[in-house]
Amino acid sequence: MTNSTVSHLRDDREILLRVENLVVEYTTKAGTVRAVSDVSLDVAAGETVAIVGESGCGKSTLAKGVMQLIPTVSGKVLLNGNDLASLKGEELRRARPNIQMIFQDSISSLDPHLRVRELVEQPLKVWGRGTDEERRAKVDDLLRSVNLDPSIVGDRKPTEFSGGQCQRISIARALSIEPQLLVCDEPVSSLDVSIQAQILNIIQAMKIRYGLSLLFISHDLAVVRAISDCVYVMYLGKVCEVAPPERLASSPAHHYTHALVSAVPIPDPTVGRRRAILEGEPPSPTNPPSGCRFRTRCPAATEKCAAEEPQLREVSPGQFVACHHPRG
């Protein structure tokens, strides 16, 4: 499951973000954990790329690594050709307006003692965009675009709002400086079912309005399917499959993806499915299995899988899988 070949990365389209061989580690009492192990991906202009995986796969760490909010051990993060990972201090700070992020816990993303208007205005103030008047007008406009009435919410504090409303405020704030890329780290996972749709629709609308590209992190395949152009599936720090969402759902090539897809509950009792129930527990991230990391739970594992780590290779147009014995 290595990506040291970056064969799945594209050169033909207008690529906005290109991540090459990114490695992120952190130390725990049990040892060093490679949360992100040699991951490469790219996002084209106007595209939505999704990263899915379960807990411990490293997707959130990947998002923070791309944003350079945590130190990365090695690898490149090329935004418009500029390697963010090689920038430090002031240079890195100056590169930030082009790439913004929305977090999972919407309420904790907002400083509780500031008012909504001040929060949304912050990026504009930091970068000195516009006069006071202009900023106020822009903030009001942004709030309206996320379906919040500025005259009602403007002077309130975040603690007075629900998770969904706080997420809207976060979105408004992130878009105030008009970034090119928006990284969304599980933006709807902690929201109620009927609110999820509202927020997803807002994100889609904003994408069109501002011409954004999205890097969307989620554990929910159904959500990802609805909004993305390309999906990366991660397991234990590595990418195991890359494919367009319909292909992923209808004919997943990797055995883990297959298990993931068949585990997602479908709200329709008439759909009978063969459930591929995974056995066992995920291995410890401090001591991952040799060769293919998924082999300890894979129904198709052979000796080769223990000896040699599989690389991502194309098995159908646009679909890459890191497996010695892919399905189909």
């Binding site: 379960e54 807990s55 629900s162 109620d192 079912v193 009927s194 999820q196 749709a197 509202q198 997803l200 629709n201 889609q204 554990h219 929910d220 395949l221 159904a222 959500v223 399917r225 609805a226 909004i227 969402p245 319909e246 759902a249 298990a259 993931l260 897809v261 068949s262 585990a263 997602v264 509950p265 479908i266 709200p267 329709d268 009792p269 008439t270 759909v271 459930r275 129930i277 995974l278 066992g280 527990e281 995920p282």
Partner: protein, 326 residues
């Protein structure tokens, strides 16, 4: 089929600073032996308050419960906390979202279990310990003999959940109540746990209630489904009937707003605008009217009753949907 567990016109109110908060407004449900009922609702629908109040977990001066809750014919509401506890484990068992609420982090798993068995079933220690290993095997835990020596925090979330399930079925309850049992778990682990629950239900002939917000879970695992909104049951039907012949606009809207793995890409999700009603406010209208695309004047001035369409499919709407919903 005699009803195993019945709720009749259960109402739960809380006294708060802003007035009386109506969390549950007259819920009537029954569960027969061996059947699985899914209770679906979002936060604020009253789905958690409902059964917690029914089980006597919500008490105090500020809590007002009325109506009837019967377990195998016995009224639970008038009972004291001590009396109700008598039924926990032996007649009715509960499984929660967070297994750490049921597991003591400073005691080994084996001893937590066997204590319950010794006390409840009057087993001697040796027999209890054997039963513990047996139960852990039943919930498909690897190496149960080694597991009994471990502490809860040494296990993963999915394993803890299975231990909690094992503890719940230890005394052979007739009804298992699962409140969001898999919400905190990964999707693949969720599938394992749900499969386990279905399996156990068949093997042990238990009745089951799954309380969740996820329509996908109940679609695959329950016989009947009750949809809750604003503290009331708004639709109650067999699983097939609920999905194939949805009558409530709320249920339809919910189904349309959920992203689906088998859906068409590019199809925009139809979000339900607005938010659930304020539980303190009293209104004579239908609670869903402000958000309902079919609402009429009547819906805004009168409150619909729960009606049966003759086939056991109950709905609470003046204008139930006719055509099969997609």
């Amino acid at each position: 089929m005699s009803a195993l567990f019945e709720l009749e016109n259960l109402r739960v109110q809380f006294d708060t600073k802003r007035g009386k908060l109506h969390a549950v407004r007259g819920v009537t449900l029954h569960i027969a032996a061996g059947e699985c009922l899914g209770i679906v609702g979002e936060s604020g629908s009253g789905k958690t308050v409902m059964w917690r109040a029914a089980m006597g977990l919500l008490r105090g001066k500020k809590v007002h419960r009325s109506g009837s809750v019967r377990l195998l014919g016995r009224e639970l509401l008038p009972m004291s906390a001590k009396e109700v506890r008598h039924f926990w484990g032996t007649e009715i068992a509960m499984v929660f979202q967070d297994p750490m609420t049921a597991l003591n982090p400073v005691r080994r798993i084996g001893s937590q279990f066997s204590e319950a068995l010794v006390k409840r079933l009057r087993m001697d220690k040796a027999a209890a310990n054997e039963r513990v290993v047996e139960l852990l095997r039943l919930v498909r835990m690897p190496e149960p003999e080694k597991l009994v020596r471990k502490y809860p925090l040494q296990l993963s979330g999915g394993m803890r959940q299975r231990v909690m399930i094992a503890m719940a079925i230890a005394c052979n309850p007739k009804l298992l109540l699962a409140d969001e049992p898999t919400t905190a778990l990964d999707v693949t682990v969720q599938a394992q746990v749900l499969e386990l629950l279905s399996d156990l239900r068949e093997k042990l002939g238990m009745g089951m209630v799954i309380v969740t917000h996820d329509l996908g879970i109940v679609a695959g695992h329950s016989d009947r489904i009750a949809v809750l909104y604003a503290g009331e049951v708004v639709e109650l039907a067999t699983t097939r009937s609920l999905f194939a012949r949805t009558k409530m606009p709320y249920t339809e809207a919910l189904l349309k707003s959920i992203p689906r793995l088998d859906g068409k890409r590019g199809e925009t999700l139809q979000a339900i605008e607005g938010a659930p009603p304020d539980p303190v406010a009293q209104t004579a209208a239908c609670f869903f009217a402000p958000r309902c695309r079919y609402a009429t004047e009547k819906c805004r001035t009168e409150h619909p009753e729960l009606l049966d369409d003759g086939t056991g499919h109950w709905y609470r709407c003046f204008y139930p949907l006719k055509a099969p919903a997609q």
